[in-house]
């Protein structure tokens, strides 16, 4: 009895020491940067230019001397430009997520109903692009979508069109790029869910005379809700802040917050406003992120 207590104590001590290292790391390199970004977002844009050195003079002078201003946030709200960009990013991400679901669900369903060997092969086909560089896969679309690219040449050759279509540097290309890049993130959680489903229920429904569509709508689809939610969040959350896809495939009128943030930071060099834009973006993402955490912890709890 005593020895088992001792055992537990020694173990806990070692685990406590073990967790301290990643804990401190995250406090320093994950949490502290957020405190700083919030602080800079509250700094006076005029005083904080060029970039934000004066902030540290204030810090040296003591916290009470620091001038806090919400001007950057007021600027964001008063300037309709940012509201439009946030809305447009949410719209682009939401529509892409829906398209991903419409394409990914049948794929996941098909894979889950295959014999084991073929299933493994098909899954490998979904996972493989995920390991190949994201940047290079997005880049690959430029060659396909260009005015003189593969798709236009093919359509011209077929005689379906007389003039090359404008397929790139517009919103269409961004939708395509997002659906393409995030499709594996939609298919995998859906597959994990559909594969686990108990087929007895479907069989029972079929035995009782239900049509296959009815069985799907009444049983399979409701049961796959957790998979749908997980897949959609895994696409939607990163899609909102996406930078590479709009930068490489989007047009100058493609409004996505990741790109605007990049320009605000590197071109306008307005760091306080860039910080405020980031904080608002995070606030928009808090709800889907918490939802994702809840879904994840339920999955973890179920597995344990």
């Amino acid at each position: 009895m005593i020895s088992s207590f001792k055992r537990g104590d020694g173990r806990r001590q070692w685990l406590r020491a073990a967790v301290a290292v990643p804990y401190l790391w995250l406090l320093l390199f994950f949490l502290a940067p957020f405190a700083i970004i919030i602080k800079i977002s509250l700094a006076d844009p005029l005083l904080a230019l060029p970039p934000f050195t004066p902030l540290f003079d204030w810090a040296a002078a003591g916290w009470q001397k620091i001038q806090v201003t919400v001007d950057n946030y007021l600027f964001l709200f008063q300037d309709g430009y940012y509201a439009i960009i946030y809305l447009s990013s949410v719209k682009l991400a939401a529509i892409s997520t829906l398209l991903c679901l419409l394409l990914g669900y049948p794929m996941a369903y098909y894979i889950a109903r295959q014999p084991q060997r073929r299933r493994n092969l098909l899954l490998l086909g979904i996972i493989l692009p995920f390991w190949i560089s994201f940047l290079l896969r997005v880049y690959a679309w430029i060659g396909l979508l260009n005015t003189h690219g593969v798709i236009n040449n093919f359509l011209l050759w077929l005689g379906l069109i007389d003039q090359p279509l404008t397929l790139i540097y517009n919103d269409f290309a961004v939708y395509l790029g997002i659906v393409y890049s995030y499709l594996p993130f939609m298919v995998l959680p859906l597959y994990a869910n559909l594969e686990k489903q108990n087929l007895d229920l479907q069989d029972a429904a079929a035995d009782l005379g239900a049509r296959r569509w009815q069985t799907f709508l009444d049983i399979t689809l409701p049961l796959s809700r957790p998979g749908i939610i997980a897949g959609c969040l895994l696409v939607f959350i990163p899609a909102i802040g996406e930078f590479i896809i709009p930068a490489l495939l989007g047009g100058s009128d493609t409004l996505m917050i990741g790109r605007v943030l990049w320009d605000e930071f590197f071109i306008n060099r307005d760091w306080p406003v860039a910080s405020a834009v980031s904080v608002v973006l995070l606030l928009i993402l808090v709800v889907p992120m918490m939802w994702f955490q809840r879904v994840q912890s339920r999955v973890d709890g179920g597995a344990a």
Partner: protein, 272 residues
């Protein structure tokens, strides 16, 4: 019934074509002699030769590999410790904060991670004089921070599915915690640690956005270089580079899949 499986098969086939069409087209046009990327000018290896002749591509590839190896290794150590604590320590002070911090990087927009880390590095340089210059070190730190989250998730999943009785038996027999960790726990979570390492390695090799923020003059990683070249459109030597990377990665992934397949099957056969 027949009809519906045809629809399913069509959509699935379309999905796979969609996933692989760009990859196949890049590989195909990397052998194109013409400088006009999509006009076929005959088979040629000239872009591969020009790849070998460009020192900036080679040096940034070396830098990226160095950063990826170091950051993946440290992320695996930190992520394993984090996963271990989350699945074995039970309740502890600050657990909620820790869980939040370890899962947040999974869903954090890269651009915000990049900006906030840059601010941190600038602040630290002001306060304590470190890091004096931004470059490979700051990129490595940034990569460790976001990839340890992925390692922690993978290791934690493995640990929660693992029988604890071996560890407990070793403890009962008087094994010291560290000894038990290295002799029992590490070997049994090794597959998760390896896949975590590979994930961290890949994420590091792939990152453009965060590296662009936290890098300084003189440290250009391969993705940063590729990004600056392709921003203006297609470039034939990037096609060749992409082909090399695609073939290397595919070979690695397929080998790994073949090697781990028998193990995965025997695991799924064993009673849960």
């Amino acid at each position: 019934m027949k009809q519906r499986s045809t629809v399913l098969l069509t959509v699935t086939a379309f999905g796979y074509a969609f996933l692989y069409l760009p990859i196949v087209s890049v590989i195909f046009y990397s052998f194109n002699d013409s400088r006009l990327v999509t006009l076929w000018g005959g088979f040629s290896l000239r872009w591969y030769r020009s790849l070998l002749d460009s020192p900036d591509i080679l040096s940034s590839a070396v830098l990226s590999l160095q950063i990826a190896v170091v950051s993946a290794t440290l992320a695996t150590i930190l992520g394993t410790l984090a996963g271990l604590a989350l699945s074995r320590l039970g309740r502890f002070r600050g657990r909620t904060l820790f869980t939040g911090m370890i899962t947040a990087p999974l869903v954090m927009p890269e651009i915000i991670t990049g900006i906030s880390l840059l601010f941190l590095f600038i602040s630290l340089a002001e306060w304590i004089g470190w890091p004096a210059a931004r470059g490979a070190t700051t990129i490595t730190i940034a990569h460790i921070t976001f990839s340890m989250a992925y390692v922690a998730v993978v290791v934690r999943a493995r640990l929660s599915g693992m029988d604890q009785s071996l560890e407990e038996a070793a403890m009962d027999l008087g094994g010291r915690p560290l000894r038990v960790f290295f002799d029992i726990t590490v070997p049994s979570i090794a597959p998760a640690m390896i896949s975590g390492w590979l994930l961290a390695f890949t994420l590091s090799l792939d990152d453009v956005v965060i590296a662009s923020f936290v890098s300084g003059p003189g440290a250009t990683t391969l993705p940063m270089l590729i990004f600056s070249k392709v921003k203006l459109g297609v470039s034939p030597d990037i096609n060749a580079l992409a082909t090399v990377i695609i073939l290397l990665v595919s070979a690695g992934v397929i080998t790994a899949a073949v090697l781990t397949r028998p193990r995965a099957e025997s695991r799924s056969q064993s009673p849960q």
